[in-house]
């Protein structure tokens, strides 16, 4: 039995003229022990989804279960067995590190000692400061404490809502290393993030945008379903180059990508045809190279699906 099932979940906010459709029929399943990523920008519906799955919000349509329990009828059972780390730091600022952890352990009828093994790797990094108040901690330490508190009752499913937003590249890497080691212990983890590059660290991902799932697949599977030729191009005047690439007859889409521009080509066009075209437009030795799409390329393509899709949707 899957650990988490979402079936056509819908949620809307506001009334009459100001209705916002946060979720428009979201469905997916997460297997036991999976590290499952919900990848999408702000406003995609990630937090609404997490709040429904952790029983903090009632859906307007559809159904969902966690560990076989219904999120509406069996909310008490679910609360006993999930851990939830909200996007905003929500521990008690004027309790110390140790007091916060003890508080959460007590609420769930357990002790720090009983489940110390599970949090040891994470908690031992902040334990030397256990008498410091949570409000006085650095961002990285707050994050470690919040994760320890979400884990102290040994949940079977862990929900992490944007744990790495606004966090610098180094701390982000460290956080993902912690998640990988938690996965080893058999916990099912759902993690949401606006950073596309974090998708490759998940077993499977759901790409979400505007309240709708664009794709559910392994990171490799998402990339494999990008079926058009993709090029990385670099030249003298990058701004002019982008305009020229967009005007090429074989171009589906062209957009900046770090130090290169990426160009999605129609079938039948290739590296050579673009090089030719650029030389005709007076570019000296432009750098043109066929590359493999990454998750961000796929996300961009999926967002533009209605216009002219370089994508085949696999169900």
């Amino acid at each position: 039995m899957p650990s988490v099932i979402a079936n056509n979940l819908a949620k809307q906010y506001g009334k009459k003229k100001d209705i916002v459709q946060a979720l428009k029929g979201v469905s997916f399943e997460v297997e036991k022990g999976e590290l499952f990523g919900i990848i999408g920008p702000d406003g995609a519906g990630k937090t609404s989804l997490f709040r429904i799955l952790t029983t903090l919000l009632i859906p307007d349509g559809g159904s969902a279960s966690v560990d076989g329990f219904d999120v509406v009828k069996d909310f008490k059972a679910i609360r006993q067995r999930v851990g939830y780390m909200p996007g905003r730091f929500s521990l008690y600022q004027d309790l110390t590190i140790e007091e916060n952890l003890e508080f959460f352990a007590t609420i769930f009828n357990t002790t720090i000692e009983a489940n110390y093994d599970l949090i040891k790797d994470i908690y031992s990094q902040i334990e030397p400061f256990k008498d410091r108040r949570a409000g006085k901690l650095s961002g990285g330490m707050k994050q470690k404490l919040a994760l320890s508190c979400a884990l102290i009752h040994k949940p079977s499913v862990l929900f992490l809502d944007e744990p790495t937003t606004g966090v610098d590249a180094v701390s982000r890497k460290e956080f993902w290393e912690m998640l990988r080691s938690l996965k080893q212990q058999g916990i099912t983890i759902l993690v949401s993030t606006p950073y596309m590059d974090e998708a490759s660290l998940c077993d499977r991902v759901a790409l979400i945008q505007g309240g709708e799932i664009l794709s559910v697949n392994t990171p490799g599977g998402v990339i494999a379903s990008f079926q058009h030729p993709l090029l990385a191009v670099k030249g003298d005047n990058m701004l002019r180059l982008l305009t020229d690439l967009k005007n090429f007859e074989g171009t589906i889409d062209a957009y900046p990508f770090g130090e290169y521009h990426h160009v999605v080509l129609k079938d039948g066009y290739s590296e050579a045809s673009v090089t030719n075209y650029l030389q005709q437009h007076n570019y000296h030795q432009p750098h043109v190279q066929t590359i493999r799409a990454d998750i961000e390329d796929c996300f961009i393509a999926l967002m533009k699906t209605e216009v002219d899709s370089p994508f085949t949707i696999h169900q």
Binding site: S138, G139, T165, K173, P194, P256, G258, E259, F299
Partner: protein
């Protein structure tokens, strides 16, 4: 200090201490007019403190700096009039309409009614927001808000615009449209000073500085930084530098 006409920002040993803690530790750099300058650093490296000094919101402990030719100690009011500012966390008033927000900010900067009227019409057309002009800002999608916020920040035609993580959480398509607007602003002569956690965006800057523990540990073009640090990407450059940090994040 010798400020020539091509310099938008000049900092020399600029320092800020809070008690015994040196948040910004004698940083020196120059930003040229019309340049897109990326100001990177790990959380807690001192970026925000440095930016606050350059915006005239915090008086330095020591060192020198001029912004748009004005002194950061004595001419902070002149600085505020010469710059625009936008951050991810705060930019527009959610309970005012699109038009009201524009009117409000332009009014603060003392622009004439005729100027505001003419430029508002132009701006709404550029952003394809004509139909949304009288809608509350909170009803707009995030990407639209960020683009509108940027337009508002440069509405009064400042010499320099400071952007503090302007694209955090924004979808990849809108993020690129946003950078397109930054390029256009730079082309029109506005100097852009920008922070970001997206390392691909560091590539879009003319030059990039990287702060570690209050100091600027590297400053160059993205291409030269990659050469110097023998790295394939800016991400790698950043990791190599930021891993040396002793300070923990904010």
């Amino acid at each position: 200090m010798n400020t020539n006409n091509n310099t938008a920002i000049e900092a020399h040993e600029l320092t800020k201490r809070f008690g015994h803690f040196t948040a910004v530790d004698a940083i020196s750099f120059e930003v040229k007019k019309g340049e897109i300058f990326g100001f990177l650093g790990a959380n807690g490296a001192g970026k925000t403190t440095a930016m606050r000094m350059l915006c005239g919101l915090s008086i330095p402990t020591s060192g020198k700096a001029t912004v748009a030719g004005f002194d950061v100690y004595k001419q902070t009011e002149h600085i505020k009039k010469s710059i625009g500012y936008m951050s991810q966390k705060f930019s527009l008033y959610e309970d005012l309409t699109v038009k009201e927000n524009i009117r409000f900010y332009a009014g603060i900067y003392g622009k004439s009614d005729a100027f505001i009227k003419q430029k508002t019409a132009f701006l709404l057309k550029e952003l394809h927001l004509e139909e949304e002009a009288n809608k509350l800002v909170k009803s707009l999608p995030l990407g639209w808000k960020q683009k509108l916020a940027f337009s508002v920040a440069i509405f009064h035609e400042p010499e320099i615009v400071f952007l503090d993580e302007p694209t955090g959480g924004v979808d990849p398509v809108t993020r690129r449209e946003f950078w397109n607007m930054i390029y256009q602003a730079a082309e029109s002569g506005i100097t852009v000073f920008v922070t970001t956690h997206y390392m691909d965006e560091a590539e879009y800057c003319n030059r990039v500085s990287i702060m570690v523990d209050g100091r600027i540990d590297a400053l160059d073009t993205p291409a030269q930084l990659k050469k110097t640090f023998e790295a394939k990407s800016m991400d790698e450059v950043f990791l190599k530098l930021a891993r040396k940090a002793k300070r923990s994040g904010d």
